[in-house]
Symmetry: C2
Subunit: 453 residues, 2 copies
């Protein structure tokens, strides 16, 4: 088994099997935007549902939210994004090309983009023509648009660059309507947009992406303890989804890279083939920064009444924040394997059963007209209960390989014996073991093997 | 029971119980944008999952897709949106205010906005100052933004005004990777944006909304038959979710209102309290218009090889298209009821079990310290399996009412007898019937009552 597939191999599988396509491909694409195909959308939905189940449904202290992408622009003034969410850009005075300044100098973390930081490019020439470069100027990474029929400064709005602020501005609404006591969290899944100068590495850094964020509100003084608990909690989520522990690490942000709002931040990193260890989730202690800023800008208190101390306080916030698309890439790379089986190569995705796009494939041994009605009957039985696929093209061996390659945990084979004994064969993806099960008990048997997924 | 609640009653319930909040409310909001609170996000997710299950999982001929919101702008030139997706606007020559021309004249369908149509406003004065109005000028309804560091015409992009085009441009990718034969469909759920001049009626017409669309590709000549089948199919979906048949109607588009791409369009309409019958889903025969336009603009064939006729053909398309937010409003209004129970009023949402945000509420009879550990144990048992809520505040009667008001189908009460007999009471929302069930068999009993939801 290959230890880690190359990116080319993963990208090619994604395209060939309908996980991910380049957006608007027939028009030459558009940089930093991707579409999820029939299998990709299922994997993506399963990731989101697994996170929601673990975060909102199974916990007793977190509720959900779904805020709009376009918000009142004052939100982004208060959050600091209008002023500081920017990358330094330089222009070449000779050839007029534009570059991101921090890409012209060496930086510690290849795969990371640290926004809003000044960069010293003194003496660096244009990488294209060798000409002289301008001083770096800050370029805001928020996509700008106009709301209403008039395009002027009064109608400017932004596509949110993070989902977090939608939670902070709803703090009071959620507190009031769900009658929560500290500590409690608000979780959200949704699209965010960043006008990255250099998107890249497939879906690793997109201009349009999806975030899953929790803002967990705690009493000041308990924040450090809760931070530790969330780091552990989130690390366990990743390994619980089957990502190998040895491919993950926890990295403390240095004082230099710490955001202005953060008291402490820890990244969970995955060992990517193109970049080495890079962030897949950040867990930050944002203190009372955001609620404080919004209270100030909106001119109203965003506080919690603590009965014990008989005081109104501004809670501290622990924020576990991750991207769905990067998680998608992580589980694809981590689950990808190549094996020799009886002298033949098989490619498989050892995806966690909860994540697998297709749970069960129904495979008649052949297209023989006697088999087809029974195979269709089995498919009709399973379809309301599991995401299934029916495949009758080419040899049964080829079809097993096709299902292995997309991570389908179970195949159900209908053969000529089925016509006599009303039983089918279940074949498992990883072990390739086969068991014979009566159709009558098939749903139960599959449910047990899938662990309720 | 009130036949139909007023909008005020529904909006107030949404705000009070955390279904829907005004976006960026602490900053005075932003017109046409809404946030979904803890209960709203669950209801919305349940609507989307019910649609996906019926459309993608349970059918054998539809696969899913999730295309990006920002696409190559040539997509919108090909689709005609750059040229024709516009509303006529007029300015007052005296007071300089701007109006939507079609709102200054009477129109047939109050709640509908028919985009891209010319309007004759000859002789109509400014509704504000009585001054003279300019000729109508077309105002494009797509939100515009810029991709990359330079804001110029070469970097203009749009937020998609519909999800449909993301499907058409992926027709070939999906066809190739999923090896489909006609007829087959591609289904998609995702955000879309329209810069409406006059958003309104709560979440009925938003600037940011979510669509659920199917493009169903068929052999030309079979399109009329498939259109009929989809009209029936989609109507049944609405009634299957519990929406009352007498509140729905099917309305044929007149020749006047038919879009330029449509051979025939039928709307499913719901009887809204503020507007009378208005569209909740459109089912259009788009012919080969879209694939034809994209083939022309992209300069490549978008065809299907039909083995029977041994020819490459451009499929026809049947499009069932609906909005998640409008569906949300429909099921809320339709399920809202007020009843007298023993001289007291109760408000309830008779939501379909599959849609209810909370499936089960766990209610200890009181906060008595002997009850709490058992009640928590029951909650811990149920939480991994169902969306649950724990409520121990105020009288049990009040808590039943609170659950009725948010549509929770089942309440589980833990009382002092439970400490002796290890049994609890299940109370049903609509009938208010109560049955006693041992904790050991509780999960099974609830699962049965929820019908697998």
């Amino acid at each position: 088994m290959a230890d880690a597939p190359s990116m080319d191999v993963v990208v090619s599988l994604c395209k060939r099997r309908g996980f991910v396509f380049q957006s608007s491909e027939i028009y030459g694409g558009i940089g930093g935007f991707w579409d999820y195909g029939p299998l990709g959308v299922e994997l993506k939905n399963n990731i989101k549902q697994a996170w929601w189940r673990a975060t909102v449904q199974e916990r007793d202290d977190v509720v959900g939210l779904d805020a709009s992408i376009i918000m009142n622009p004052r939100v982004w003034q208060a959050s600091g994004h209008v002023d500081t969410f920017a990358d330094p850009m330089v222009d070449c005075k000779s050839c007029k090309r534009r570059f991101r300044a921090d890409e012209l100098v060496e930086h510690k973390h290849e795969a990371e983009s640290v926004h809003g930081q000044a960069v010293d490019i003194a003496g660096v020439p244009c990488p294209d023509c060798g000409g002289e470069l301008t001083e770096p100027r800050m370029f805001n990474l928020m996509f700008k648009t106009y709301v209403g029929p008039v395009e002027d400064s009064a109608s400017v709005a932004y596509l949110r660059p993070e989902t977090a602020q939608g939670i902070f501005v709803n703090f009071d609404n959620v507190l009031t309507t769900s009658r929560r006591k500290l500590p409690f969290g608000i979780a959200q899944i949704g699209k965010a947009f960043r006008n990255e100068i250099t998107p890249g590495n497939f879906i690793f850094r997109d201009r349009e992406f999806e975030q899953m964020e929790i803002e967990y509100f705690v009493l000041p003084g308990t924040d450090e303890e809760w931070h530790e608990r969330w780091i552990q909690e989130r690390f366990n989520w990743w390994t619980g989804l089957g990502v190998r522990k040895e491919k993950l690490r926890i990295r403390e942000h240095t004082e230099d890279e710490l955001s202005h709002y953060a008291k402490r931040t820890v990244d969970i990193e995955f060992d990517f083939p193109f970049a080495g260890f890079a962030e897949i989730e950040g867990i930050a202690n944002r203190t009372d920064f955001d609620l404080g800023r919004h209270a100030e800008h909106a001119g109203r208190e965003l506080k919690y009444f603590d009965e014990e101390s008989d005081q109104h306080i501004v809670p501290y916030v622990i924020e576990p924040s991750m991207g769905v698309d990067r998680c998608f890439l992580t589980v694809l790379i981590d689950s990808y394997a190549e094996e020799e089986v009886r002298g033949e190569k098989r490619t498989l995705l050892r995806l966690h059963k909860e994540l697998a796009p297709i749970k069960v494939a129904v495979l008649p041994l052949s297209r023989n007209e006697k088999l087809v009605p029974t195979a269709r009957r089995v498919w009709d039985l399973l379809r309301p209960r599991f995401m299934t696929q029916y495949d009758d093209a080419q040899s049964i061996g080829r079809r097993y390989r096709r299902q292995d390659e997309i991570g389908t945990p179970l195949c159900v084979t209908v053969d000529f014996d089925t016509l006599d004994d009303e039983a089918v064969t279940i074949r498992e993806r990883d072990s390739m073991e086969q068991v014979r099960v009566p159709i009558e008990g098939l749903v139960e048997a599959l449910r047990e093997k899938l662990g309720g997924a």
